[in-house]
Symmetry: C2
Subunit: 115 residues, 2 copies
């Protein structure tokens, strides 16, 4: 096959962890990073244009599959409380980030090799 | 951290190739495999519950980014023609399948290592 004009594609990968159902992917990972930054589920959801109810739903589903809570919350009275990653939640998020990063490196190597 | 009750997640990956825009992912790969099997874009689209117009749209977009046609079609008169992979289309699909398969193997290794 000719080399001339050959396409060198870029790529995107979406990694989703599954148990009884999909429970952890790029969306919840971003949400957790934003909670870590803002200290608030509401602010984190807003920053990524996700509804508060959707954020709660995906957090609840992940906690259920994992068997531990990703976040701990303190009620703040009027206007909502503060939330932070639990130690287990932080460890899990870091593992997900690492696997995702290494998967991107593997994919870049494969794309370079095959295309 | 305790080992007891630790979750061993399954996973899914979605690889999408990009140029000016996303142009080649699991959807078009499946469509091409089905065209190869049935000899017809219409039958292939129907088998994966995709509209004929959507099938044409994603094929046209991919051809445009690739700079070569993935399929060749012969008009069959009344009732539509036959379609088959071009040699370049088959070679590209095989490369995508190989990269996707190797990426799954890499991901399985990473999941086993980290979780």
């Amino acid at each position: 096959m000719e080399e001339k004009g050959r396409l060198k594609p870029g790529f995107k990968i979406r990694l989703t962890l599954t148990a009884n159902e999909k429970f952890f992917g790029p969306g919840i990972a971003m949400l957790l990073h934003l909670v870590d930054e803002y200290g608030s589920i509401r602010s984190a959801a807003m920053a990524m244009d996700m509804s508060y109810s959707k954020a709660w739903k995906i957090l609840r589903r992940a906690d259920k599959e994992l068997g531990f809570p990703l976040l701990e919350s303190r009620n703040g009275g009027n206007g909502g409380g503060k939330s932070a990653l639990t130690a287990e939640g932080r460890a899990f998020l870091e593992k997900f980030d690492t696997v995702e990063k290494k998967l991107y490196e593997a994919a870049q190597g494969l794309i370079d090799e095959y295309f």
